[in-house]
């Protein structure tokens, strides 16, 4: 059984008096452990689709299932818990709580999950080490570079042990070197932790790292193909 199943998802927004069709009958499945990219130009519906998968938004039509849970059928409080336990988020920017250190940011979700202090500290340190930031774990976001902040966000997303990590243009604000480094870390951890990643991008360098590329155009899937990544070829 697929980890994620989207069936006939449509989303319509009302923008003033204009009705905007953000997604149009989108259907696909994602298996556990996949490292998939949602690609397409701005306005193609990538963020909307990620928001629906992550339970931040609801579809106007269709259904989304994660690990057997009908996401659209969850209430407000259940959606919070669903995101807390099942989803890891990495956003484009401003991912971290500015008054918390890198370590505390990684711990934050685990605190709400109810993990003991020793467990969450151990996990937070472990994941910060995996992203190469253990030495900077007591720094606040303002004292970290953009690339380092995104790596903290990756550590936070993974430390909480989600079934699925959703990353919305995680490299959009990074320079080429940092973008490549971040993608490398995400890819490596996806394999090591056997965590499913879906990320949106329109950056060809990022697409090159994806094992599956789902292309959206005007809210419709125009292609969905698996391909060998740069690392797999070498």
């Amino acid at each position: 059984m697929a980890l994620l199943g989207l069936e006939n998802i449509s989303k319509t927004y009302q923008q003033g008096e204009v009705e905007v069709q953000a997604l149009h009958h989108v259907s696909f499945e994602v298996q556990e452990g996949e490292f998939a990219a949602l690609v397409g130009p701005s306005g193609s519906g990538k963020t909307t689709l990620l928001n629906i998968i992550g339970g931040l938004d609801s579809p106007s039509q269709g259904s989304a299932h994660l690990n057997g849970t009908d996401i659209a059928g969850l209430g407000e409080a259940e959606l919070s818990d669903f995101r807390l336990f099942q989803i890891g988020f990495i956003f484009q920017a401003y991912n971290l709580v500015p008054v918390l250190t890198a370590m505390e940011n990684v711990e934050l979700v685990m605190v709400l999950q109810g993990l003991s202090a020793s467990d969450r500290q151990q996990r937070a340190e472990h994941y910060l080490e995996l992203v190469g930031l253990k030495a900077l774990m007591h720094r606040r976001p303002a004292a970290l570079s953009g690339g380092q902040q995104q790596r903290v966000a990756v550590a936070r997303a993974l430390a909480a042990g989600p079934r699925l990590v959703l990353a919305d243009e995680p490299t959009a604000n990074l320079d080429s070197e940092n973008a490549t480094a971040l993608l490398d870390i995400m890819h490596r951890l996806s394999h090591e932790e056997k965590t499913t990643f879906i990320f949106s991008t329109h950056d060809p360098r990022v697409m090159d790292r994806a094992e599956r590329i789902i292309t959206l155009h005007d809210g419709t899937i125009i292609s969905d193909e698996y391909h060998h990544t740069h690392e797999q070829q070498t």
Partner: protein
């Protein structure tokens, strides 16, 4: 690393929320400090004004009790409602013995108070004749220092009276002048006695200086004997009880009432004896409460402004937190914690400021004499021109609770606003 088996419901992590709230509070250090300072300043003012109010009221009450009929008064039933010279306690000596037998911690003073007409060859004025024990009554220490002419009355002086300067002026009386005191009797007759002015006092309290005629018990008793009382039984119109510990008033009132009260005799406390003074204090307190209300409003707007601004500035951050799985309840608690911490800090700082002002005011007093050119008399008593601020524990609790509730209440709106943030919209900002 294995994924732990999580429970599927979020936990309310208070330590983390408090830590976040505390740090959020200091994001804009200057703004928080300005808000805290304004609350503390307002609170300090409230403490000062309430302290002055209570200090002046208590001063008036103490003086009224001292000049008046004590903390407790034993007197004939119905006297307050309808004062009359024929309402007296016939068996004064016996009642005095019973009161003394109770072991009251304080003093019991037998008194005779009568409404009379005081006349000289020049004029006649209405007067209040007060007969008292010239050896131990409070009036000895209260009025005797204000004697401006002549001598104080003695217990063995059969005709001696002391009058106020105001009355002396109206009657054109001097030391040694004869003054005829005439009191109405039951049935329409009257009783007249001749008094001789031994001394004149000037207390600066118009009501005393213009109307009071002081004598020993023996002289005042002539009028009660004329009403049919037996002089040997020691008739009086009342006993004034001055307690060492005013806080024990209610307790002693009960003890005395159960021992001596009857159909003819009642035990009244000073509030029942001086309802006008109580009313005045209630009205004056109401003014202080209005002032306190204005300060609370200032506090509320200060906190609402600070917390709401901080909430609006963090819309995207709240969106992020909601996306990560923080529930509405958590967010509401977080913002409420910020108000709570702000409120605790404000109260701490407020008491530091207000408490210091109060401490200073309670030790050195605040001199209002320049503002009281027309005298300090109010409702038949007087207020000391130097007011020492007073705050009872009840007031401390009341003020703290008022500021605490106001600050907490002011956190509700920003907290609700934060909890209603929709993550998908907030993340777009």
């Amino acid at each position: 690393m294995n994924v732990p088996a999580y429970a599927q419901h979020s936990k309310m992590a208070f330590p983390m929320l408090f830590m976040l709230a505390w740090r959020n509070l200091w994001r804009h250090r200057r703004r928080t400090l300005i808000t805290l300072s304004s609350i503390a300043f307002g609170f300090g003012l409230a403490v000062l004004f309430i302290g002055i109010g209570d200090g002046s009221h208590n001063s008036m009450i103490r003086n009224a009790i001292k000049m008046g009929e004590g903390h407790l008064t034993v007197q004939p039933s119905g006297y307050v409602e309808s004062p009359a010279n024929y309402k007296f306690i016939d068996n004064g000596h016996e009642l005095m013995e019973r009161l003394e037998a109770l072991g009251i911690r304080g003093t019991v003073e037998p008194r005779i108070a009568l409404q009379v007409l005081a006349s000289t060859a020049s004029n006649s004025v209405g007067a209040a004749l007060q007969g008292f024990d010239t050896t131990r009554d409070q009036r000895n220490s209260m009025i005797r220092p204000n004697l401006v002419q002549g001598a104080w009355i003695t217990a063995d002086d059969p005709r001696g009276i002391v009058i106020g300067a105001g009355m002396a002026g109206k009657l054109k009386a001097k030391i040694g002048s004869k003054v005829v005191l005439m009191a109405g009797k039951r049935g329409g007759d009257s009783e007249a006695q001749l008094g001789r002015v031994r001394g004149i006092f000037d207390s600066s309290i118009e009501e005393m200086d213009d109307y009071l005629v002081l004598s020993n018990l023996h002289f005042a008793r002539y009028f009660l004997v004329a009403e049919g009382a037996s002089e040997e039984a020691g008739p009086v119109t009342r006993f004034a009880l001055f307690l060492d510990d005013p806080e024990s008033m209610e307790q002693w009132k009960g003890v005395i009432a159960s021992s001596v009260a009857s159909r003819e005799v009642v035990v009244l406390d000073w509030q029942e004896m001086m309802p006008q003074l109580v009313q005045f204090i209630v009205v004056d307190d109401a003014g202080n409460y209005v002032f306190l209300l204005l300060i609370l409003m200032m506090v509320v707007f200060g906190i609402v402004n600070t917390v709401l601004m901080s909430v609006l500035e963090r819309t995207r951050e709240f969106g992020l937190l909601r996306a990560l799985g923080i529930s509405r309840r958590h967010l509401l608690t977080l913002v409420f914690c910020e108000s709570l911490l702000m409120s605790l800090l404000a109260i701490g700082l407020g008491w530091l400021v207000g408490g210091s002002i109060h401490l200073w005011g309670s030790i050195y007093g605040i001199d209002f004499s320049s503002m009281m050119e027309e005298g300090t008399q109010i409702m038949g008593t007087f207020m000391d021109p130097v007011v020492y601020t007073e705050l009872s524990w009840n007031r401390v609790i009341q003020l703290t609770a008022a500021i605490f509730s106001a600050t907490l209440a002011s956190g509700i709106y920003p907290a609700v606003k934060a909890s209603r943030i929709l993550p998908v919209e907030a993340l777009r900002t």
